[in-house]
């Protein structure tokens, strides 16, 4: 493995990790606050990607500049959060907070099955591809290796901004503190006048927007196919579980680990590249069953 291939693998890994982190951030935020693992998160990611491609295709056909793709990504992510995420929490998840973990898992799984077919009905089974956002930013050359600026600079930048922004949001803003308080003790929070229902709704919509944003940002770099949601939910679960469920900073680190592990495997052992994320997860969980940064939960007796 010479230096330029090493750099290529490094860049691939970082770009990939940034995308996975954005999706995993939403998943772990929702879990941390609501104690629900949203299996449908993968579908929200896929729908974010499909929506972006459709919107970009439509507006570019109208004669807009290719740079217009960037605001459309944000629009798609917000659409996913409001059109799908909000009703999902309001009409469905709200009914099941008191039920057992397995039932909650089954309910979000059922939603996942429904949304997978919704994608197929709306967008069909043919792959979509639109890389105009990628071309707008052009390429950069680092140590003789040419790579797209979109993947090398923009994606990691967004991931870091989201990570720092989420930290700041949860610790230093009023709404963030309301969310943290509700996470800590829902009843106590309600008794001092926090509207826990609204906090949950808000959190879920933010999580869904992050899933949609992950899909939107991924759309110029990959062709969009049915089944990408299933891959993503398992992968982002691997990231989140390796870090420890609900650990935001940990998810950033494990996303990087898994992203780099996968991209180096692509160059060294291409056959096993898809397995690497899961191997990392299994190895970590063998040693630390709660994940790298998770702490054992106190058991109710």
């Amino acid at each position: 493995m010479n230096f330029s291939i090493f750099l290529l693998a490094l860049f691939d890994g970082v770009a990939y990790a940034a995308l996975v982190f954005i999706v995993a951030l939403g998943l772990t935020l929702i879990f941390g606050v609501m104690r629900i693992l949203n299996v449908a998160h993968g579908s929200l990611y896929a729908i974010g990607a499909y929506t972006t491609v459709s919107l970009v295709g439509y507006f570019l056909a109208l004669g807009f500049a290719p740079a217009f793709a960037f605001p459309l990504m944000i629009v798609s992510a917000i659409l996913v959060g409001i059109v799908i995420g909000a009703p999902l929490e309001y009409f469905l998840l709200r009914r099941i907070y008191q039920k057992s973990e397995v039932l909650q898992l089954l309910v979000t799984f059922a939603v996942f099955m429904i949304l997978e077919d919704v994608q197929r009905l709306v967008w069909g089974t043919q792959p979509y591809f639109n890389s105009s956002a990628l071309q707008v930013l052009g390429n950069v050359t680092v140590f003789g290796v040419t790579y797209t600026a979109y993947q090398l600079i923009l994606l990691p930048l967004i991931a870091v901004v989201l990570l720092l922004g989420m930290r700041f949001f949860l610790r230093h803003t009023i709404i963030g503190k309301l969310i943290t308080a509700t996470t800590e003790d829902r009843e106590a929070a309600q008794s001092i006048g926090i509207d826990a229902d609204r906090v949950f709704l808000f959190t879920f919509v933010i999580g869904a927007v992050l899933a949609g944003l992950g899909g939107a940002l991924a759309s110029p770099t990959t062709s969009i196919l049915p089944g990408m949601g299933a891959d993503m939910i398992v992968l982002s679960f691997a990231v989140v579980a390796t870090a420890g469920l609900g650990q935001i900073e940990g998810a950033a680190l494990t996303a990087l680990m898994i992203g780099l592990g996968r991209s180096f495997a692509v160059y060294l052992y291409p056959e096993i590249s898809v397995l690497v994320p899961y191997l990392i997860m299994v190895l970590v969980l063998l040693v630390r069953p709660e994940g790298l940064f998770g702490s054992p939960a106190a058991r109710k007796i």
Binding site: E101, V102, V107, F109, A110, V111, I114, V234
Partner: protein
Amino acid sequence: MPTRTQSSKPSNKVNARMTSPLSWLWIVGMAVIIAVPFLVPSMQLLVNFALAKGLAVLGVTVLLRAGQVSFGHALYFGIAAYAGAFLMTSMPATDFFVILIVGVLGAIVAGLFVGLFVVRYRGIFFGMLNLAFSMIFWSILEKFYHLTGGADGLRFTRPTVFGQALDHVQFNMVLYYSVLVLMVALGWFTHRWFASPVGQLFQTIKTNETRLEYLGISPKRALLSGYLLSAALCGVGGVMMGMAQGVVTPEYVWWVRSAEMVFIAVLGGAGSVQGAFLGALIYEVVRTYASVYAGDIWQMILGGFLLIIILFAPGGLIGILESAFKRDTTKPSAKTGDRK
């Protein structure tokens, strides 16, 4: 209906389960299934598939009894089917029973390796880690195509039965009645297993795991025993399905297949042995006829039904049947006490 008149008999004192009107329904149902190849030969293969799937669903049902759900049990379905297929392609004309045993052994060995790891977890982690393992195996099957045939899968000829090469019709008959015998034997075994000490400990994981530890019993070991049973049952279903279809593809392991198994288990009645097979039969029949009209939205329909069952009829088909049959008897508590 003869079943209705029986129910007024005041015999529910000692052995309510055996004489309940519902058990007459099972007997009639069994008689119908036995007669299918003679009465409606066109349905034979369909029922065969359904019962093979029902065996796998029974595996998922076992885990539901411990309050756990696995989104990856198609793994064992697929491993057993592939183990049988590898044996058939490397040694053609292997005996039917050898393939069955090898397939199930494959599932059990895999279940032991994966099980030792996943029994450390409950709930979300248990479900999702199983899903992750099935996805790993799926991508191995797809990637190593020189070994596994990739997406096209492995095609193999009919196995022999007791050294005899059978023709198509005879072999299908053997398969059909074998799967029927397996259904009765394994259904009965699972039923007895739930009542056995090990089975009781296993089900305590759902109600109160800490008490198990206070008794000095390892919950992990209790869960592992049930996990191995569930893997073996899925394996039996998988290898029977593989032989009935004559081809195994990575689709056997695909998460949709696992989802289908969970769906049928919940549809039939979470934790009920009979429900697994009843659910599988109804599911397969409905799917065969409905997929012509609703092939594109099939998963959507499944998901919708799953939501409706979970939110409004958590007892599944068995729960509905039992409440229908027990309406005129006096013991509404018998059901809940029985299924705990």
